[in-house]
């Protein structure tokens, strides 16, 4: 046993099990290195943060109904801080950690592995993320939010916000190392990287690009923190400036990275729905890899491109990235459409498939909005359109999270999500995301604020309604998760969808070690489909 493996659980004698069982579950939960438990913890708490973030977005949206006075917040400064927390929270408290948790739980199963790489590190990643996230939210509540002004914030609380955000990002990076290493190092015989299931592949690509881009955010925050603690701040630690220095992490093109795993989720769901292989698998991998490449946004960090320096938002590369992102999206959507067309009458619609359709629609909207934003003549960069594109990309990620949750939830917990709640969430996410984001993109075209004041007010109202719709959806999905976790959902079989990849070859939920027998050599990305076809051949 090496330091990278968790020790096997000791089986307690039956006579001692009963009295210790009730107090042991918390100890087991805190000390577990079981990747399935760690993954579910990540997903569960991400959904809890989703409720809080969506509620905050709804409050900011409703506050925007009236611009003449403040109804819900004490000051404009508080509105700015809340808006910054909404953007950062949606990315780093919801979408990124949810997909990280899903990858930690599912990727080892797809790879036929008994565990994730560095299981204790994955567990440590979750607990550090959770504590840092809690501290970050608390410091925001203590007037320490980024996005505020010097007069409107508590400097010590701002320093705590920055420090907790650094810790939170470091925890996510640690989790990304575990996922990327798992895909690269722990594969069964015959499974080369181009035979890895699509969700595992997108997890590898997104983890790799996260490891290249998020450290740059950490660098910016480090400079801001050191400056903030040396009174008075020289430049970077001035409270007005900090959010501006890291805003690139939640705007295009970087924000598309957080939605990348959703494409992998859709790819696996579509293949199962169509009951057949994804044709031109290599081209699909190239498209997903290109999407990841075009999502690398660290070159646009504000500290390098700020006032008086190179304005990267006017550079060809930046604009080209924003436009080119639609190419891999169209390639992927075309590939999925081809799979479904060939599936024909054997297609079985399901809740995960409905969620996948919503992901595709939102993804197309996000890519189209990015193209429009990047067209030089429209002059939309630096306007409300930035927020519109970011919202579409992030809520695409949330929809992908719902799709993944409904697809693999039965495998991990042995129970289906309540179908009504899941369907409601899917519909609300689609409607809410479009209502929130599209008005912001349209508002970006309005340059004469005074002449079109009424139009802007109407757009703000529509966007606010969308935020409320999303908040309702968030509460629904969290409730569905609780019901599924505590055993209220319909019991699921080992393979409820007719799966094609290795995770469906084990029980639901999987046993310790994931598979009863070692996984043999695989010859394609769809080992179970290969096995079925072999069985049919032999049966003839």
């Amino acid at each position: 046993m090496t330091a990278t493996e968790a020790p096997p659980s000791a089986v307690a004698p039956a006579a001692e099990a009963q009295p210790a069982a009730q107090s042991a579950w918390l100890y087991d939960l805190v000390t577990t290195a079981d990747h399935k438990v760690v993954g579910r913890l990540y997903m569960g708490f991400s959904l809890l943060f989703l409720v809080a973030v969506a509620a905050l977005g709804a409050l900011v949206g409703v506050e925007g109904f009236s611009t003449s006075e403040l109804d819900l917040f004490a000051s404009l400064d508080a509105v700015s801080q809340a808006s910054a927390l909404y953007q950062l929270g949606l990315a780093f408290l919801v979408v990124v950690p949810f997909f990280l948790g899903l990858a930690i739980a599912v990727v080892p199963l797809q790879l036929g592995s008994p565990a994730v790489a560095f299981p204790r590190a994955a567990a440590a990643s979750f607990w550090v993320w959770l504590v840092a996230g809690g501290i970050m939210v608390a410091s925001w509540a203590a007037d320490g939010g980024l996005g505020g002004t010097v007069e409107g914030t508590n400097s010590d609380a701002v320093a705590l916000s920055v420090a907790s955000l650094i810790a939170l990002l470091a925890a996510l990076l640690l989790g990304a190392v575990c996922v990327a290493t798992s895909v690269m190092a722990i594969r069964p015989a015959g499974m080369s990287v181009d035979r890895v299931p699509l969700f595992s592949f997108t997890s590898l690509v997104s983890a790799s690009v996260l490891l290249l881009s998020i450290p740059v955010v950490v660098a910016d925050l480090l400079i801001a923190y050191v400056d903030l603690r040396g009174r008075p701040p020289v430049a970077f630690g001035v409270e007005d400036a900090i959010f501006g220095e890291i805003r690139w992490a939640v705007t295009s093109p970087q924000v598309f990275l957080y939605a990348l795993p959703a494409l992998g989720v859709v790819g696996d769901i579509v293949a199962v729905t169509a009951r057949g292989r994804q044709r031109n698998y290599g081209a699909m991998l190239v498209a997903l890899g290109a999407f990841g490449f075009l999502s690398f946004g660290a070159f646009a960090q504000s500290a390098v491109t700020g006032a008086g320096r190179l304005d990267v938002t006017e550079e060809f590369t930046y604009l080209a990235f924003g436009i080119a992102i639609i190419v891999p999206v169209l390639m992927a959507v075309g590939g999925w459409a081809d799979s479904l067309r060939r599936g024909g009458r054997s297609i079985r619609a399901s809740v995960p498939f409905s969620a996948a359709v919503v992901v595709i629609l939102l993804l197309l909207a996000a890519a189209a909005a990015s193209v429009v934003r990047s067209i030089d003549g429209f002059d939309l960069v630096g306007t409300a359109a930035d927020l519109g594109v970011a919202d579409l990309a992030l809520w695409t990620g949330v929809a992908g999270a719902v799709a993944g949750f409904t697809f693999w939830g039965p495998k991990l917990s042995g129970r289906h999500l309540p179908a009504v709640a899941a369907t409601g969430v899917i519909g609300l996410t689609l409607v809410g995301a479009l209502l929130v984001a599209v008005p912001n993109v349209v508002a970006g075209f309005i340059k004469d604020v005074d002449e079109y004041a009424d139009t802007l007010d109407a757009l703000r109202v529509v966007s606010g309604i969308g935020a409320v719709v999303l908040a309702v959806g968030a509460v629904l999905v969290f409730t569905a998760m609780l019901l599924e976790t505590f055993g209220r959902g319909r019991r699921a079989g080992d393979d409820p969808w007719g799966g094609l990849t290795l995770e469906w070859a084990t029980t639901s939920p999987p046993p310790a070690g994931n598979f009863a027998e070692p996984v043999g050599e695989v010859a394609s990305p769809y080992p179970l489909l290969d096995q079925r076809e072999r069985d049919q051949e032999e049966g003839r």
């Binding site: 560095f118 450290p215 660098a219 500290a303 008086g308």
Partner: protein, 201 residues
């Protein structure tokens, strides 16, 4: 007709063992890449701020604030440590555990010497942290470098103890190789600091 004798069928070669997963090496490579990108972000800010200041005709680092010699000594020490850590990798590849441990200890001692040199450099530097943007960035970058150096020393210490306990061999040398990868990356970071900050100023 001559009697034919049946010969035993040729034995197939034994099935090759599946390659051992290089988990620790890959994980270290990913983590090291992330750390290097963090420094890339720091250097990006430093270079952008320096360029803007010089273009505006301002002084970046005051004359005489940073001496050349201590920085050069640190660079020479770290170059030596690259040799010794590679010595450790080569020694364990030849199943020479004794020399592998010795090389790791020498590398750690050289690293500790660099810590001492950096502490002296900080005392000697005529740049209070809040004096200017340049001072702030120099302190942040050198401080981050120290953190990376200390992490490298901890990694080396862990690996040295394990090597001493006999856990590494020519067939199982990933721990030492992983420590060497991280150490080499740390030296690369210092090289950029040495050139971009101490020499170019």
């Amino acid at each position: 007709m001559a009697e034919t004798t049946e010969s035993a069928p040729l034995a197939l070669p034994p099935v090759a063992e599946p390659p051992r997963p290089r988990t620790l090496l890959l994980g270290t490579a990913f983590a090291t890449g992330a750390v290097l990108m963090c420094f890339a972000g720091l250097f990006g800010v430093y270079i952008a701020e320096r360029s803007a200041a010089l273009a505006a005709g301002e002084e970046w680092i005051p004359e005489g604030a940073i001496q050349l010699v201590p920085g050069g000594m640190m660079m020479a020490t770290l170059v030596m440590s690259v040799v010794t850590v590679q010595w450790a990798v080569n020694a364990i590849a030849n199943d020479d555990r004794g020399h592998a441990v010795l090389a790791l200890v020498v590398t750690a001692l050289l690293g500790a010497a660099v810590v001492n040199q950096q502490a002296f450099y900080w005392r000697d530097m005529g740049l209070p942290i809040d004096a200017s943007v340049a001072a702030l960035l120099v302190w942040v970058i050198t401080g981050a470098f120290m953190a990376m150096l200390l992490a490298g020393l901890v990694f080396l210490a862990l690996v040295a103890f394990r090597a001493f306990a006999g856990q590494y061999s020519s067939r199982q040398a990933d721990g030492i190789k992983a420590a060497a990868i991280f150490w080499d990356a740390m030296v690369l970071v210092y090289f950029v600091i040495w050139y971009a900050i101490y020499i170019t100023k």
